[in-house]
């Protein structure tokens, strides 16, 4: 997976274009991972407390 995108300009040179949009699912997945891990931690704590 690439972290950045490149393109070629009119002179054939490689130009930095921006962040790789392949990382969008990674960003969403990271958010979902934090939520799931915390939800599990919260459920375990609640069960132990009761």
């Amino acid at each position: 997976m690439d972290f950045v995108r490149f393109s070629t300009d009119a002179w054939g040179q490689r130009v930095l274009e921006g962040i790789s949009w392949d990382l969008l699912p990674v960003a969403i997945g990271l958010g979902a991972l934090v939520i799931v891990v915390h939800a599990i931690y919260r459920a375990v704590r609640k069960r132990r407390a009761s």
Partner: protein, 209 residues
């Protein structure tokens, strides 16, 4: 209709002034609009997004400048500063001052990504045709534009992650007191007693160290 009787009002602990709540919800609306207009085209949803994106970006930039001035000169920046005491208190499960360690981490993370988005976004306005100036794609060299785009895109992706986490915690039943405080401004004394250390935050204004 909110009850504003003197008795009930006296029993409430003011957490957020109206101006700060308005700022929060303007930023929330602007960030969601910017994420939608910036990232939906990436996901394949094609529409004319540039105008609404840059206008919302300018609104966000103005809100951020307002908040920076207000936080620096009218509020206490130490309220969001993370010190060793915050780490010790969090590890010992002690009550927080005005903001918990998690809230400070979220605020400071959001500050970092939103400042990056605003600064790089303002640079990118040079490439947009507006009623006030002609677009100038040669304002920066090609390599510099690349760095600006990478920073803007990386900050946008981090914003997606942070917004997801922020909304999740705001909707948790035990954290809804904070959501209500951000909507209506106050905590009840019993909520205050559960979540806050009165020695470090007396219940209005900034916190003590």
């Amino acid at each position: 209709m909110p009850d504003t009787s003197p008795t009930l009002a006296a029993e409430r602990v003011q957490r957020h002034a109206a101006v700060d709540r308005v700022f929060h919800w303007i930023v929330a609306l602007a960030v969601l609009t910017l994420l939608a207009t910036g990232l939906l085209p990436v996901a394949g949803v094609k529409f004319s997004w540039v105008t609404i994106h840059w206008i919302t970006g300018v609104v966000l930039a103005l809100a951020v400048v307002f908040h920076l001035i207000r936080a620096t000169f009218w509020q206490r920046l130490r309220c969001v500063w993370i010190g060793l005491k915050d780490l010790r208190n969090a590890l010992a499960h002690r009550r927080a001052a005005k903001y918990s360690l998690a809230q400070k981490l979220m605020h400071n993370g959001m500050t970092g990504v939103i400042l990056t988005l605003v600064i790089t976004g303002l640079c990118m306005l040079a490439k947009v045709e507006t009623p006030w100036w002609k677009r100038n794609p040669y304002f920066f060299a090609a390599d510099t534009w690349g760095v600006v785009y990478v920073l803007h895109g990386a900050a946008a992706l981090l914003t997606v992650t942070l917004v997801m986490i922020h909304v999740y915690f705001a909707l948790l039943p035990e954290k809804r007191v904070y959501l209500r405080a951000m909507w209506r401004g106050w905590d009840t004394p019993s909520e205050f007693a559960v979540y806050h250390d009165p020695a470090r935050w007396p219940g209005s204004g900034g916190e003590r160290r």
